[in-house]
């Protein structure tokens, strides 16, 4: 039986990426040396560099602001509440190449979201299974994204969710957050390619609240991983607040169009 070619994006360590001939990939860099090597000569097929643990390294960011390569960067924060001020080191780098910031929705993350927004850095927010405290902060972050006029760059997943609720085809939350193994082959996640489909099917089969959830299509069981017993009440309210904003946009546009006709 013919096998479909693997079109997913491979996430490779620096060593794995050397000599990689299998198509598009993301290179994970964790040292200044690795960062320098892939900034200097990104190689065809490298879509972006995922930069881990280097935010405090001023020299690394001076390097990222130089040179002719334009390879984009995804800068990973692990503790946004303490690391946030280091985002100022990205100011020059973001002039010469696309730079995004990824962070977990850990307590205090809103500080990093605010500063990233003020520096026009797009944000990818990984909500995981948020605690009540994190949910409160996520709600505040969503409000900030939706209403603060200083926000000019996307904050995912709010941005794609809003677009999806306005009718754009954006896929599931797994896709929006680049965690669907069918498309994004992250080795550390250790999930099979058909994970999203089978995970949701299992949840429904087991009678999880997903079966009757109005957000099933967009969420696809995202918030039921890794603990299927996680209660989604707070997350549903978050979705509802973004839906409310989408409806408001729709009403405003409709009233303008009817005023113009």
């Amino acid at each position: 039986m013919l096998q479909e070619p693997d079109a997913s994006l491979a996430f490779l360590t620096s060593a794995e990426a050397e000599g990689h001939l299998g198509g598009s990939c993301v290179v994970i860099v964790r040292t200044r040396g690795e960062f320098a090597r892939w900034l200097r000569e990104p190689a065809p097929g490298v879509e972006w560099l995922q930069v881990e643990g280097l935010l405090p390294d001023q020299e690394a960011w001076a390097m990222a602001a130089q040179g002719t390569s334009k390879v984009p960067l995804d800068v990973i924060l692990t503790d946004p509440a303490t690391e946030f001020s280091g985002l100022y080191r990205l100011v020059d780098a973001r002039i010469v190449r696309s730079v995004r910031v990824t962070m977990p929705a850990a307590p205090g993350f809103l500080k990093a979201v605010r500063l990233a927004a003020s520096l026009q850095l797009p944000v990818r927010l990984l909500p995981g299974q948020p605690s009540a405290e994190a949910l409160a902060e996520l709600t505040e972050a969503a409000h900030f994204y939706l209403h603060d006029p200083m926000v000019e760059t996307p904050v995912e997943f709010f941005h794609s969710l809003l677009a999806g609720l306005r009718g754009t085809e954006t896929g599931t939350l797994w896709t929006m957050l680049e965690e669907d193994p069918l498309v994004f082959a992250r080795a550390e996640a250790q999930r099979p390619r058909d994970f999203v489909e089978t995970h949701l099917a299992r949840l429904i089969e087991q009678g999880a609240e997903c079966a009757a959830c109005r957000w099933q299509k967009v969420c696809a069981g995202y918030f039921k991983w890794p603990d299927p017993a996680y209660t989604c009440a707070g997350v549903k309210q978050l979705f509802a607040s973004i839906e409310s904003a989408a409806d408001e946009i729709g009403r405003d546009l409709a009233s303008r169009e009817s005023g113009a006709s």
Binding site: A65, R114, L115, M150
Partner: protein, 398 residues
């Protein structure tokens, strides 16, 4: 090549031909020698190459830059531009002058080296810019004559006005009309003052009540929106703020950059390197090094402990001041380090003019929204307002 901008505020001399009584600069008699210029140029080009930057803006200031004479500048420009071209780089030159020494002999170099434009300064009312013999009124008469001569010769002139108590007492209406009607200017800029350098008695005239200053600036903003915006008058920094709040590319002044240390340095006639002209003329403790003695400008900037304070400042502010939750963080970033240092003795605090800036930003935001609404309702893509022609991003205080 990158889109990064690198600027150098270059002071070929600290000598001056006038006696402004609030000037804080140390006017030591010294001039940049043509013999040293190739070394300075090489250091700059080495740095541009290392950083992958194609173009460097040179803001020639002083002291009084025109003391050097047009022939000196013509030769300096030729030397620097030739060296840059050889290495695939470009210098773009801007001249800031008190205009007192201007005459037609300057026109050729102004056109060839400075793009047919220059920047100058005048306050309203002028109480503090003075000639050595003749005082403020004589200065104003002479400067106005020079301005009219330059404009008649086709030189584009931008004027910086520093606010003092007299300005606030005169009020926005008289202030605005002086520059636009009496002088007939199409481009000018207002700066807030700061008490740089050693204490002077006259500094009190520049120690402005923040609420009165905020009120003045708000009033001036409203006036400009009403009369100047559609008439093609560029008034900095209001025009840049309107660009920002209407979604157009905006080049905000240096006091509101994310971190000025990323974008420019100042070099004086002796090769001393510091953050900007305000620092290099007044605060030796802030010097980064010397471009004629240090082997590499890049290494100097990388290793200088004094510069590291500038680099760390915005991080410190979002951790310790109330800047992070501020609605206007994205266009302010804690304001100007030298304004902070001169008022508080430390740069690790937010700009003392914070509340003034917020008042101006608030006004700009309201006007910007109204403009956008107007465009949406009328279908007009852009009102009769053009961005100000390449005004220097570095703000000359004087």
């Amino acid at each position: 090549m990158s889109d990064r901008v690198f600027s150098v505020i270059l002071l070929p001399t600290a000598e001056c031909n006038v006696a402004c009584d609030y000037c804080f600069e140390d006017k030591e008699p010294h001039r940049l020698s043509m013999v040293m210029l190739p070394l300075l140029t090489r250091q700059l080009l080495d740095h541009l190459e290392h950083e992958g930057i194609e173009e460097c803006e040179i803001y020639w200031q002083g002291g009084e830059a025109m003391i050097m004479g047009p022939a000196w500048f013509a030769e300096a420009g030729r030397l620097m531009d030739t060296a840059a071209s050889t290495r695939g780089r470009r210098f773009k030159h801007y001249l800031q002058t008190n205009l007192i020494s201007y005459s037609p002999v300057w026109n050729e170099v102004l056109r060839s080296m400075f793009g047919g434009s220059l920047g100058t300064s005048m306050d309203y009312p002028n109480l503090h810019r003075k000639l050595f013999a003749g005082g403020a009124e004589a200065y104003t008469r002479l400067w106005t004559d020079r301005l009219r001569e330059a404009v008649a010769a086709g030189i584009e002139v931008g004027v910086i006005a520093v606010l003092h108590r007299g300005s606030l007492e005169a009020g926005p209406e008289r202030f605005y009309r002086y520059f636009t009607e009496e002088l007939g200017l199409k481009s000018f800029q207002v700066n807030t003052p700061f008490p740089g350098g050693p204490a002077k008695a006259v500094a009190a005239d520049f120690d402005l009540d923040k609420s009165v200053l905020a009120q003045f600036l708000a009033g001036l903003f409203d006036l400009w929106m009403e009369r100047g915006l559609d008439a093609g008058v560029a008034l900095g920094p209001f025009d840049a703020l309107i660009h920002h709040f209407t979604g157009a590319p905006a080049r905000l002044p240096c006091i509101w950059k994310e971190n000025c240390s990323n974008q420019f340095i100042s070099v004086d006639s002796k090769g001393t390197v510091a953050q900007c002209d305000c620092w290099v003329t007044s605060y030796p403790e802030s010097f980064f090094g010397n471009v004629f003695r240090d082997a590499s400008l890049t290494e100097m900037l990388r290793k200088s402990p004094a510069r590291q304070q500038f680099v760390e400042r915005p991080k410190h502010l979002v951790e310790h001041e109330d800047c992070l939750p501020c609605r206007y963080l994205s266009i302010c970033h804690g304001g100007c380090p030298v304004r902070t240092y001169s008022a508080l003795g430390t740069m690790l605090a937010k700009d003392p003019d914070c509340e003034v800036y917020k008042a101006v930003f608030g006004r700009a935001e309201a006007h910007g929204r109204a403009l956008l609404r107007r465009r949406l309702l009328t279908g007009v893509a852009k009102p009769g307002f053009q961005p100000a022609p390449g005004r220097p991003v570095a703000v000359a205080v004087r």
